[in-house]
Symmetry: C2
């Protein structure tokens, strides 16, 4: 592991998101209420599908970033509630459209919406959420924030297309992979974290700092996700391990193991990920090969590095409960792998 | 036919969209240029897919409404260019997502994008266009217009879901059908026509008039489309006839023919449209049954009525080349059926 964590920090991190949740509880309740109201429709399919995903206990990480940075930046208005809900809508729309794209069977521990309602409904409910996200955020009148979120929407879609083009290609380079997750995951974290300082009327340096915090946190978050899909640092089999493998997704652990492997191992990755020819015991071989090349350790170390940059980005802000809670979020994201 | 058209008007209508095209040519060139620029991406799939549809010679009706109403309302700025391009992006995104939903094989006379690039790419390029539409329109800073287009985005998706729920259900009522096309088609025409007066700083009555013009024009446009799919007023077979029939789409001609038919005919519609059991000669039977019940004539008459309301809506505006051209658009939309 690249980052040694002193015992005292370890103790603190045990709180995870609790400190933050306590700080933003009243705001988060309003966000949840708004989400419920705005997914309401006489067309009953809409609340059904939307709530299948939204209430499926997503961690609400992105809305929490909006609320916490708004708090840290001394914002006193109501606009952050709508941006928090809007960004969660954008995220949920992405998940619904990803279901269609990935042909995945599980999502947030539930059966994928596409299997319950079909591809068509997933596409259209995603569009409904996107449309309503913008409607809700336009109501705030905060033009600079609207620029940030609409740019994010375009960048995310571009990243997803990049990922689709790289799919099942074991020759994907590390740079190409980093570009994909920067667009498809980190950009929305960055947008979420940038809303607070803009709404709070803070200087450009504060905006840039919060954006950098969100961007690097998002990178760390995605890399840990990638490592978790192969069982985390120990590369042992657990619940939900192997989804990426079965879908032929090229993630950083694969990129590393492929490059470090011999020709026989590369042929293994090509057979399983490119040609989709997966046999009994292959997932165990995949994990063992990753262990051998320390692919997961290095992925997690990378995540730790991004996490450290995220922490550093907040240095310019004076100490406050908000800032402390935002630093906890980094620990939470990076350390959920253990 | 419900509306008698004097010979003089008939002569004028022969110009179709020409008068309008002449008036807005410089603006439309800028819109086309902007569309090209904004579909550009290093991810080459994006311009490929987007331009397959956008340059496939859509009529650019919706952008034309933005430009013409802006002209009629004396707007002198640049914002209408971005809204015109943005609304065309929104429309194209809908077409791409519809391809996935409809499982259609042709679109604007070309092979459907989903058959060339796959469902995944269509969903994601649609999302890219939607995101960029908002990004582009947010750049204008015109908040009231942003409210109009984001509301439209939400309403359109809701209408599409309504349509999906009503799909293949021959018991669909006329009211339910009208509600579907109002949301999925007319709402975007209404939004397009409302941008001009808002940008031009006109009074609420002018805004409402333009919106009503767009809404009723959109209804007429969709009804004529529905009639054309069964060969227009003569119910004769022509090019591209029967797409809706083969996809089991319930449109106004079907609703009318089903209600006016006897039990044997209803069983025919249930077999073909609900159960998708279509045999040789069925499309001819469908057309003949519609002819018998005057289902297409009545659909076209309805379209004419909406067209008349659209024309009336513009009465409050003084005569101008713009107004005349907007009235021509109504004729163009309604009379392309002959």
């Amino acid at each position: 592991m690249g980052i040694a964590i002193p015992l005292e920090d370890r103790k603190q991190k045990a709180t995870g998101l609790d400190t933050l949740l306590e700080l933003i509880r009243p705001d988060l309740d309003r966000v949840n209420q708004l989400i419920l109201t705005r997914t309401g429709s006489d067309v009953t399919t809409i609340p059904e599908v939307a709530n299948h995903l939204i209430s499926a206990g997503g961690k609400r990480l992105r809305p929490m970033l909006v609320l916490a940075t708004a708090g840290m930046c001394g914002y006193r208005g109501d606009g952050h509630i709508k941006f928090a809900a809007g960004i969660e809508f954008m995220h949920t729309a992405t998940l619904l459209h990803d279901d269609v794209v990935d042909e995945s069977e599980m999502r947030r521990g539930k059966i994928a919406a596409r299997l319950l309602w079909g591809n068509e409904t997933c596409v259209l409910v995603g569009d409904f959420l996107l449309g309503n996200a913008f409607k809700m955020m336009v109501e705030t009148g905060a033009l600079r924030c609207l620029e940030v979120v609409s740019t994010a929407a375009a960048v995310i879609a571009e990243g997803e297309i990049l990922q689709l083009n790289a799919a099942k290609d074991t020759k994907t380079t590390m740079d190409a992979y980093m570009a994909v997750i920067r667009s498809k995951t980190a950009e929305l974290f960055a947008a979420a974290a940038e809303i607070g300082p803009i709404l709070g009327g803070r200087c450009q340096a504060d905006e840039a700092a919060c954006r950098s915090y969100g961007m690097n946190l998002g990178m760390a978050f995605q890399l840990i996700d990638d490592a978790l899909d192969y069982g985390g640092s120990s590369a042992q089999l657990g619940k939900n391990v192997g989804d990426d493998f079965r879908e032929g997704k090229i993630t950083l652990p694969v990129v590393l193991a492929f490059r470090r492997g011999d020709e026989q191992e590369r042929e293994f990755w090509r057979r399983t990920l490119e040609r989709g020819d997966i046999r009994g015991g292959d997932i165990e071989i995949a994990c063992a090969t990753m262990r051998k090349h320390k692919a997961l350790e290095e992925t997690i170390e990378r995540a730790g590095q991004y996490g450290a940059i995220a922490r550093d980005a907040l240095c310019i802000f004076p100490a406050s409960p908000w800032k402390a809670a935002l630093l906890d979020v980094v620990d939470f994201c990076v350390e959920r792998v253990y």
